[in-house]
């Protein structure tokens, strides 16, 4: 059997596909809950994106290595143990080295375990593929999830708090309390607005990718 190169077009496609045409959030509509919860500010959204990417990547990788040994009857539990262990690791590391962000993310780091994307990719891909493609597939899906998170968080923070990554973008003198005409949109901070922004992204994405539109 011919050995496949590390970065063949097929492998690359595994990474880029979930970012656009197979995006877990906007196309598969997976992992919505955390996308609503952690996107009030850009910084926690970025950390969440990186955390989920690492967990999906390595969970797929590890399960793929174990795939020929896992007893079929406890398959899901074994996958859960692997995912949970990784999530706890990420949580502990954030608490040690990114304390402020981990406080903002609070329970949502722990809830990465329940993120459907991770279990979905393990079941659908990692159980039937070699470790390397599984790792790339996991990372790609994490990146696709993260991209949407960052876009949503960017608009929510900009319009809801007037800042980007904590830096004031909207000039202070514009605000009504300083005699200006501008006021932050409080609705942006609440979860429903995240859902509306995700909806808008889906709309824009589908108007560019006609094949995504259901008949």
């Amino acid at each position: 059997m011919e050995k496949e190169p590390m970065f063949s077009a097929k492998i690359l496609k595994l990474f880029t596909d979930p970012i656009n045409k197979g995006n877990p959030i906007t196309v598969l509509i997976l992992g919505i809950c955390s996308a609503l919860a952690v996107t009030v500010k850009l910084e926690p959204a970025l950390v969440m994106a990186v955390s989920v990417t690492i967990v999906t990547g390595f969970a797929s990788f590890i399960v793929s290595i174990l795939r020929n040994t896992i007893p079929n009857r406890i398959r899901i539990i074994v996958q859960l143990v692997v995912v949970a262990a990784l999530v706890i690791l990420v949580d502990q590391i954030l608490r040690a080295y990114a304390y402020d962000v981990s406080k903002q993310l609070s329970v949502f780091v722990g809830l990465i375990i329940t993120n459907c994307i991770i279990m979905g990719r393990i079941e659908a891909f990692a159980l039937g593929n070699k470790p390397w493609p599984s790792l790339v597939d996991g990372l790609g899906n994490g990146a696709g999830y993260g991209l949407i998170l960052v876009i949503v968080a960017f608009f929510r923070e900009l319009l809801g708090s007037g800042t980007v990554l904590g830096f004031q973008v909207v000039p202070e003198s514009w605000y009504m309390k300083n005699g200006g005409f501008y006021e932050n949109n409080g609705l942006m901070i609440l979860p429903p607005m995240a859902l509306i922004i995700v909806g808008l992204i889906i709309w824009i994405q589908r108007s560019f990718n006609k094949q995504l539109i259901e008949k």
Partner: protein, 257 residues
């Protein structure tokens, strides 16, 4: 070995769980140091910000160094008192306020004749801050129950044991934009200059829905849309200050006479 046999399944599950548990234990132990340091720094920063000594922390190159230096410089003393105003043995900084809050709740719900003895069991921390000009402030922790989870904060008093010098509040998960606003300077800043005593009667400070009457020394404005959290702040201040009342009153009367 047959991969579908019971023996294989049991063995596999056992080995997997033991391996994962061992790996996580190692990670947890290895990261314990920095994690505990973070919690300690956060607590010191809260104490400092209740006396306005957190200015410049965002610009500081190292948050930890900034906090340690400022804490060492301004917080000159800390001690423990019980609910009857007597000093006690103990390390004020290490006291678990959440545990103390449970004891405070027990005092509040207890019968009048039991209160005295229950109060004697309280271990209430007091931190003493000395300003550059020599003025002394007393800092106490407060804790209560908000709408979605615990709320807490630090209150600093002038050396008349009556006038509030500063306050800082935080919360576990109050509603963003509504109850969560208690953590902002706009809310906590209102407390500066308020008084907790009216003569010898502890009034604490009330958070009043619809706005506090102008010039009221014992009330501040509530947060629109955050009524339950606002009321929780009122309860928190009343319940916690009540336990410190004996200590404050001793100090207050000593100055006045």
């Amino acid at each position: 070995m047959n991969r579908n046999s019971n023996t294989y399944t049991f063995l596999y599950a056992t080995i997997l769980v033991v391996v994962v548990a061992a790996a996580l234990s190692v990670a947890a132990l290895g990261l314990k140091g920095p994690q505990e340091k973070n919690i300690e720094i956060e607590k010191k920063l809260s104490i400092l910000s209740s006396v306005g000594k957190d200015r410049g922390v965002k610009e500081a190159a190292s948050k930890n160094d900034f906090v340690e230096t400022a804490y060492g410089k301004y917080i000159v003393e800390s001690f423990v008192v019980d609910g009857n105003g007597n000093r006690k043995e103990g390390d004020a900084f290490r006291i678990d306020i959440a545990e103390e809050y449970n004891k405070i709740k027990a005092v509040i719900t207890a019968k009048e004749e039991d209160k005295q003895s229950l109060r004697a069991q309280l271990t209430l921390p007091v931190f003493v801050c000395k300003e550059d000009d020599g003025a002394v402030k007393y800092i106490i922790p407060v804790r209560g129950v908000g709408l979605w989870g615990p709320i807490w904060g630090y209150l600093s008093l002038n050396d008349d044991f009556n006038t509030i010098f500063g306050a800082v509040f935080d919360h576990k998960g109050e509603t963003p934009g509504l109850g969560a606003e208690i953590a902002t300077k706009a809310f906590s800043g209102q407390f500066t200059g308020k008084k907790i005593f009216d003569g010898e009667v502890l009034t604490a400070v009330k958070v009043v829905k619809g706005g506090a009457p102008k010039g009221d020394l014992h009330a501040v404005d509530a947060i629109s849309g955050g009524t339950i959290t606002s009321n929780s702040v009122t309860d928190m201040l009343r319940d916690c200050l009540e336990q410190y009342k004996a200590f404050f009153l001793n100090g207050k009367l000593k100055i006045e006479n």
